[in-house]
């Protein structure tokens, strides 16, 4: 009985771990989407969907943008659009660009180290297949 009850929890672990991993990267991803220039919320969501595997719950991105703006990493402006309503465009501030550069360096170093660590694991997996 105990084994049967424990099994679903174990199956659930990789999903939860992956969700935590994505969660940690979301702030950096939101900042990175604005590297090339200003975007409004829906464009950021679409950009992240098309350029990464970050499929967002749409209500999630707006509070994050709000927080990043409060921290001075983003700035925003309302722009009139043909759609009939204005859209709120976000841009990186100077400190936002600096923070993103630091994040990108840390991320690259971290993921590079981990990739080397995981090489044997992936080789073994490929050999088995």
């Amino acid at each position: 009985m105990a084994i049967k009850r424990a099994q679903p929890a174990q199956d659930d672990q990789p999903d939860r771990w992956e969700a935590q991993l994505r969660k940690g990267a979301l702030e950096m991803a939101a900042l990175a989407s604005l590297w090339q220039g200003r975007l409004y919320g829906l464009e950021i969501i679409r950009f992240l969907e098309s350029h990464s595997q970050l499929a967002l719950a749409e209500g999630t991105i707006y509070p994050i943008l709000n927080r990043l703006k409060a921290e001075g990493l983003l700035t925003s402006e309302w722009v009139e659009a043909d759609a009939g309503h204005p859209r709120k465009y976000y841009s990186l501030t100077a400190s936002g660009r600096q923070r993103l550069r630091q994040m990108a360096e840390a991320w690259t170093n971290f993921s590079g180290g981990l990739s080397r660590l995981l090489e044997p694991v992936l080789d073994t997996k490929e050999n088995r297949q």
């Binding site: 970050l54 749409e58 707006y62 509070p63 709000n66 409060a70 759609a83 309503h85 204005p86 859209r87």
Partner: protein, 192 residues
């Protein structure tokens, strides 16, 4: 229910649940979410129902903004009340939060306890101190009733500066711990 009514109902609920924010902040958020709903619903194959479903309940969306604000304010605050309130909110969300709340209550209680003992020595010197009997500490603190007559008090008036220093240090460390924890949690709070 028409699409316009659905949007209006959603935005009214959002506005209601954002009431702790200032009017300017609230209206800015509502305006942005309104634009998102209308832009998303205009996309091919989309409907207002599906857009609202993807946004999630207005209450949950508002809670993310409110939590962000509460934690942001608290991470800059020195007020134990504000910091405890934010710790309490954090405790409802994660095991890390429960740990932070536990440390906060523990830290504030101890810090306040040291200060109270120091002040008590000035008011009731005979009932406050550290009593030793046969080389062992038998009582320490402030007592309404006297301690064993066999024990003798060792710190005297030194307990006042020591209590104030220990109390201030504990309260400062607790404040620092909560504020740091809130900043860390802010990085982790975004959800997919």
């Amino acid at each position: 229910m028409t699409a316009e009514t659905q949007i209006d109902n959603y935005l009214t609920a959002l506005r209601l649940h954002l009431s702790p924010l200032t009017i300017a902040e609230r209206e800015e958020i509502v305006r942005e979410i309104n634009a998102h709903i209308r832009d998303s619903a205009d996309l091919p194959g989309a409907s207002v129902e599906s857009v609202l479903a993807r946004l999630g309940p207005a209450e949950a969306l508002a809670a993310q903004y409110r939590d962000g604000l509460l934690i942001r304010q608290a991470s800059r605050s020195l007020s134990p009340l504000v910091l405890l309130r934010a710790s309490l909110r954090l405790a409802t969300k994660s095991v890390f939060g429960i740990f932070v709340l536990f440390c906060s209550v523990f830290g504030y209680s101890f810090g306040a306890g040291f200060v109270v003992v120091a002040l008590s020595k000035a008011i009731c010197p005979a009932h406050t101190g550290v009593w030793v009997q046969d080389g062992q500490v038998v009582s320490a603190g402030a007592f309404i009733y006297g301690v064993s007559p066999m024990a003798h008090e060792v710190l005297g008036l030194w307990i006042i500066p020591l209590g104030l220093i220990a109390g201030s240090f504990t309260l400062l460390m607790t404040t620092f711990l909560i504020r740091t924890s809130l900043r860390v949690s802010q990085r982790l709070q975004s959800r997919l």
